[in-house]
């Protein structure tokens, strides 16, 4: 069969949309539907018969999609908002992020015997990917049960903040693991990270400047995408981290533009669903059942370690910030759902020669665990909010 990227992408997207419509009726998370749609076209199912191979062209598409997500997340917050977040949200976020990273890294490393370089690489990558949370799942539970209160606000704050931390840590990790040698590793890493931040800031500043002059709504999306693609191209050319560039660009554009950010962000935010449809169907299409079956123990360890790390880490963060006992005890359970961003980040691993062997395993692990977390996460969030007494009376019985 033809290997036309357009045809394959179209097939994946249409299947994903059809599956998501069915999932909506069956009340199944839509991202699970996207992943199943991709799975249908994987090498274990129809992909083998039709000789479909998405790995040839999926790299660039993933890079573009991830750059859009990083730009949106970078521009989601202002310095004023960060200052207003409060100690509890900041401490709990740092706690659950560090808790998940440490627990997953340690547990996976020990599973691999604690000695091999391969084992450590997989452990540290899975650890960093475990950091982010899916805000959509948390918001859905909060909305369904009309939850109000301090724990609710803390959960929403954490869900919004930890994706940014997850992307930053992943970028630093990738730079560290793959960094070019320019007179020493530390110098090289500093140049790649510092250069990305400077490039992003300059790009964001000019984007905001341009944004002041554009009045027609129809130009907002091309303006932002044009600027974003240009900055990504320069990042590639100058060997600086493209993800950090996109995040710094979003953050600076929002700070320079001084407004709620509609003009520079609302139009791009509409692309978020498209981005996740692409992430999950592509990941599903690259799913290999054989690899997963051989790594069931790894999957179980990852899921358990991530939950324990998040619950313990967030709890410690809560206690250090002086939060109430209820928040410290239950906040970690509320941030179990795993973000689609983790899938996007895992997809990018396949592009690096350093992750040639481990990339497929990590992607399969993250895809399978994201679906597990999407299924159990909402129950954990509901349990936490219920225990904290923040569910609206009458809704708690649903």
């Amino acid at each position: 069969m033809t290997q036309s990227p357009m045809l394959l992408l179209g097939v994946l997207m249409v299947t994903g949309l059809i599956f998501s419509l069915l999932a909506n009726r069956l009340r199944v998370p839509r991202i699970a539907a996207y992943a199943l749609a991709g799975l249908l076209w994987s090498q274990d199912l129809l992909g083998a018969y039709l000789q479909l191979d998405v790995s040839q062209w999926s790299g660039q598409l993933t890079d573009v999609a991830l750059a859009i997500v990083a730009y949106i997340i970078g521009g989601s917050m202002t310095i004023t908002q960060l200052k207003k977040l409060g100690k509890t949200i900041v401490f709990c976020t740092l706690g659950e992020v560090l808790g998940a990273i440490i627990m997953v890294t340690l547990a996976v490393w020990l599973l691999f015997g604690g000695g091999t370089a391969d084992g450590f690489l997989i452990a540290i990558v899975l650890g960093v990917l475990a950091a982010s949370t899916d805000p959509a799942a948390t918001v859905a539970v909060v909305h369904q049960y009309r939850s109000h209160g301090k724990l609710t606000t803390t959960l929403l704050g954490i869900a919004a903040l930890d994706d940014a931390i997850g992307i930053i840590l992943f970028s630093v990790l990738i730079v560290w693991m793959t960094g070019a040698q320019l007179g020493g590793h530390i110098v090289s890493v500093s140049v790649e990270i510092g250069g990305a931040i400077v490039l992003g800031m300059v790009s964001g500043y000019f984007l905001a400047l341009f944004g002041h002059r554009v009045r027609n709504h129809n130009f907002f999306l091309p303006m932002v995408l044009g600027g974003l693609f240009l900055s990504q191209g320069l990042a590639e050319l100058w060997h600086v981290s493209p993800l950090l560039t996109a995040m710094a660009m979003g953050f600076t554009a929002r700070a320079t533009f001084v407004s709620g950010g509609e003009r520079l962000f609302a139009s791009v935010e509409y692309l978020e669903e498209l981005v996740f449809l692409i992430f999950f169907t592509l990941a599903g299409a690259q799913f290999e059942l054989g690899i997963m079956l051989q790594a069931l123990d790894l999957a179980a360890i990852y899921v358990i370690a991530r939950v324990i790390g998040k619950v313990m880490g967030a709890g410690i963060g809560g206690k250090l910030s002086g939060a109430s006992e209820q928040i410290s005890r239950y906040v970690g359970l509320g941030v179990i759902p795993q973000a689609g961003i983790a899938i996007g980040l895992a997809l990018t691993l396949m592009e690096f020669p350093q992750f040639e062997r481990q990339g497929v395993l990590v992607l399969n692990m993250i895809l399978a665990s994201t679906i597990i977390f999407e299924l159990i996460g909402p129950f954990a969030t509901r349990f936490a909010l219920g225990r904290a007494g923040e569910l609206k009376p009458g809704r708690a019985q649903e």
């Binding site: 909305h143 929403l156 009045r215």
Partner: protein
């Protein structure tokens, strides 16, 4: 009638249809702005500090904020805004549409429709408020 209206200037229109925009200060709550807009059947409000106009708030933006807790919103930007209880200063758009009294009404209408500004503020060369042009009023007049 429509041709006569669109060929007139903003100043001509204000002479026949004098109206002032909704002006609020940046220390009021978003809910208070919503109430003022509803009371005056206005779709846009302008944040001012004395004579200076600082920014613009659309009805949709205000409603989005007021109902943020009741909607399953989940973009990161909306979440941060909700968690940190964004105030008027952060919510308003400082880069707003305005028009001058000597502009053709046709040009202003085009700008209003293109930018989604129902009530566009009229500022003179000193950037002082002269009035407002409401799309609803223009439509009413053109249908008479």
């Amino acid at each position: 009638m429509t041709e006569q209206i669109i060929n007139s200037t903003v100043a001509d229109w204000l002479l026949q249809h004098p109206a002032m925009p909704i002006l609020v200060t940046d220390d009021v709550s978003v809910s208070a702005v919503a109430i003022t807009m509803l009371d005056n059947a206005a779709r846009d409000a302008y944040v001012c500090d004395g004579d200076a106009i600082l920014g613009h708030l659309s009805f949709v933006k205000v409603m989005n904020h007021v109902f943020a807790h009741e909607r399953p919103i989940h973009t990161h930007r909306q979440l941060f805004s909700r968690v940190t209880e964004t105030d008027i200063n952060e919510l308003m758009d400082p880069h707003f549409q305005y028009c001058r009294p000597d502009e053709k009404l046709a040009d202003v209408l085009h700008r209003q429709l293109e930018s989604g500004t129902d009530d566009i503020i009229v500022l003179n060369r000193m950037n002082r408020v002269e009035g407002v042009i409401r799309l609803t009023e223009v439509l009413k007049a053109s249908l008479q």
